[in-house]
Subunit: 259 residues, 4 copies
């Protein structure tokens, strides 16, 4: 085993039985929800009942927000040009970069760097870090919203976290950062839904490297639904509408030496 | 609305409320499982309790099978070359073509073409179609397995379908095709797990164009778990090992007129 | 060699020398143009001087047509979301499906099926095939243009082909199909630039399976230039403008059993 | 124009004429080589004769190195799974990350940061920067080779640069860094081909953001040739060979509460 080129602890065969993280796939089927199985492949163990409910709630929160985001536009555009559904899904995944779908990962990374194994006074740490960030003119990802004083999805997430018994360090830290930012800046800086999910995933023990993947897993079903809709409702193929684009480069000039 | 370039019935805003197929996203969060939400975006309505359990079981069945499939190899290879997680997911999706992950779609398409709105004697229809296919030397996708006389995952799926009260036309047709094929060919031609899932999705009323997307949704979490494992356990970058490849083109020859 | 998993005749090592189709890479550098090297990797041998000029002319013809095509929009959108240049190029390549960039391949395939090893009266064959297609109400790809009676790029291509001494079967066949179509339909059905390039590539002896790749090779530099322009001139990130999109799905409805 | 969402200076229409950076596409066809047209879209103007020859030489140098690199393996694997040629090209592009095909960009960025508008004693600057890097234990990208004391492709590139009259600041700086590194470390630290191309592109006046795109443009034809070879010589589909992979995760364990 040690010298194999390709090794994994995610899934494989043990004595002819297909296992996911050690659990027989056959036994998982019908006994755990898909959300639980996602938790299992990402984390290495099955969730408790509260973790299962929280995981399903967070995945549901991210599934789709309509047709405007670039992941949907890119996916529908690629399908519309005469390509396969899986190519269109790939195009959707390609758009999910730092500025679109990247916030959960960024927040988790920052929270884990700032909080780490810190024990004790979370509010004091939040104040200290907010001061540091403001002095360095750095922005806290995961806070602020263009419309809301409080992001209703965050409110829902935090309610559920409380109901399910999550209330550990990272959520406390995130809320303390929100309160400190608002006091310092004297305007709403609400913990947004990406920041809330990031804090909860941290409290669940997920490594920040899982953050982007979590969002992709949650969003792909929406992308697929959009592609199927493009397939069944629209005609090929999409290009920019006349009047929405133009050329602003050098004026007409001859090619030197052309015949 | 009619003249908008980009319209969708999947998700959007109604009077400032984000909805998925009409349901407020806020209400879905915490009240339905992620598997149910997937069903909702793909089908347009929420599943019944049996449909929910069946959907979760089928998604779980496809989540991962180990490191060997090309979707995993491509995803890990792309990440290993110094690319982002979402690019690696895209590479995984790109591999899921006709020969890898395409069987559910192909079976659903065929089943819907063959069975359509047929009412009545399913076994007779199966016999008729098997005879047609054999006469034309065409292969039935979804039947046969290199190892099993009966695919244990199929057995599990059919048990669950029966337990949950699914037993409608498509499952009966698929089993009848299996039995007819085996009688005609005098060897095991078991309905495999792709065929079983295809039949159940058909009985649930899904259009065959959803088939590939269903598989992608189910498999992406496994791909993400593999990429995170590549990130946290392996060093860059993967290339073919020495001795596994070679050049068999024209022998050495000079470039005409080279200096 | 025979039992290696990965073999290629494109490039590799011979006695420590890197070769492309047998030619030392070191000797190719500085002695042949990039267009010639493209011809070499695709065809297996170096072009003659006329083939070299024709190849360079055709590649140049396809390099870019502005910002409107979906390949450019997808590539710029992906980059704009905070992704890498190579991911954005990949998104551009993904859009080049059957309806966008697929015409050269489709024409080459059709021309090779229709003409094959046919010797002799090309005009008669063209008439016969046009009649067949019209009887079957099938469309000839590569003919017709929404603006032009004669596509100026086609005119240029055919002039160059004549100047360089290309004038073999496929070009004659393509022009004969054009003339026959126009006589039969009594309206302009000009051979378009995709059809002209397809005919010339066929006369050069390229397999039709090279057609899509030829177009991609020619178009990628334009896509790269657009991505660099997005990088250096634009701010992140692009999403659909307000007012251009909407939701037309089911009206607001409660989630059954929600709390 | 100012308020258009999509503007470009790369290509478009002027009074009904398709232009590339102001030059009529019709005039470019047949009058300039494809390498020149690539230079044009990337740089904004046509190359001089020496620039043209250098550009073609550098593009040729990067076209393909055999089947082992991950870009080729990923592209062939994706095609092999039953996907389209353009999807396979996309997979190839996706692999070209920081560790595979990223060196030209990295060198150009560093060279432009270090040299900038520096006038005068290039050798002195090289010594200063090498000392800085060594003190900070930072590695210079573009130097060192596992096999060669002098990279023969670099030698060829520098010969051509000299022959064509290139010899400006960046090449001198790169060679001075090589000599200083070797003197300081007392072992071969040859400027490799990526570093040489980077220096020449800098001397030509290209922005470092073009570096990765240059490599992708040069390499895609090789990737296309490999995909066509996979299409015409191989059977579907590629997966890891038995015995090359394994599972090293948790041992077999029951699913809690499973029936």
């Amino acid at each position: 085993m040690a010298d194999l080129l390709w090794k994994t602890s995610v899934a494989g065969q043990i004595d002819g039985t297909t296992v996911i993280r050690g659990y027989p796939l056959q036994e998982l089927i019908g006994n755990v929800s898909f959300g639980d199985t996602i938790y299992l492949v990402l984390k290495g163990n099955l969730p408790t009942a509260p973790e299962s409910r929280m995981m399903n709630a967070m995945l549901t929160a991210c599934i789709d927000h309509g047709i405007a985001p670039p992941s949907v536009v890119a996916a529908r555009t690629v399908f519309s040009g005469g390509n396969s559904l899986n190519s269109a899904v790939a195009a959707g995944a390609l758009t999910l970069g730092d500025f679109h779908g990247g916030a959960i990962e960024q927040c988790m990374k920052l929270f884990q760097e700032l909080l780490g194994d810190h024990q004790g006074d979370v509010a004091g740490l939040a104040k200290e870090k907010v001061d540091e960030f403001r002095a360095a003119k750095k922005r806290f990802p995961g806070f602020g919203h263009k419309l809301y004083k409080r992001d209703p999805r965050t409110v829902r997430m935090l309610e559920l976290a409380q109901e399910y018994g999550f209330g550990a360090n990272y959520i406390q830290f995130a809320v303390a950062v929100q309160d400190t930012l608002e006091a310092a800046m004297d305007r709403p800086m609400p913990l947004n839904v990406d920041g809330a999910i990031a804090a909860i995933l941290c409290d669940m023990g997920f490594d920040w490297r899982v953050g982007k993947g979590f969002f992709i897993i949650a969003r792909i079903p929406g992308v697929v639904a959009h592609i199927v809709e493009e397939w069944t409702r629209e005609k090929p193929f999409r290009r920019l509408p006349e009047g929405s684009y133009g050329y602003d480069g050098p004026g007409l000039r001859p090619v030197p030496g052309s015949k």
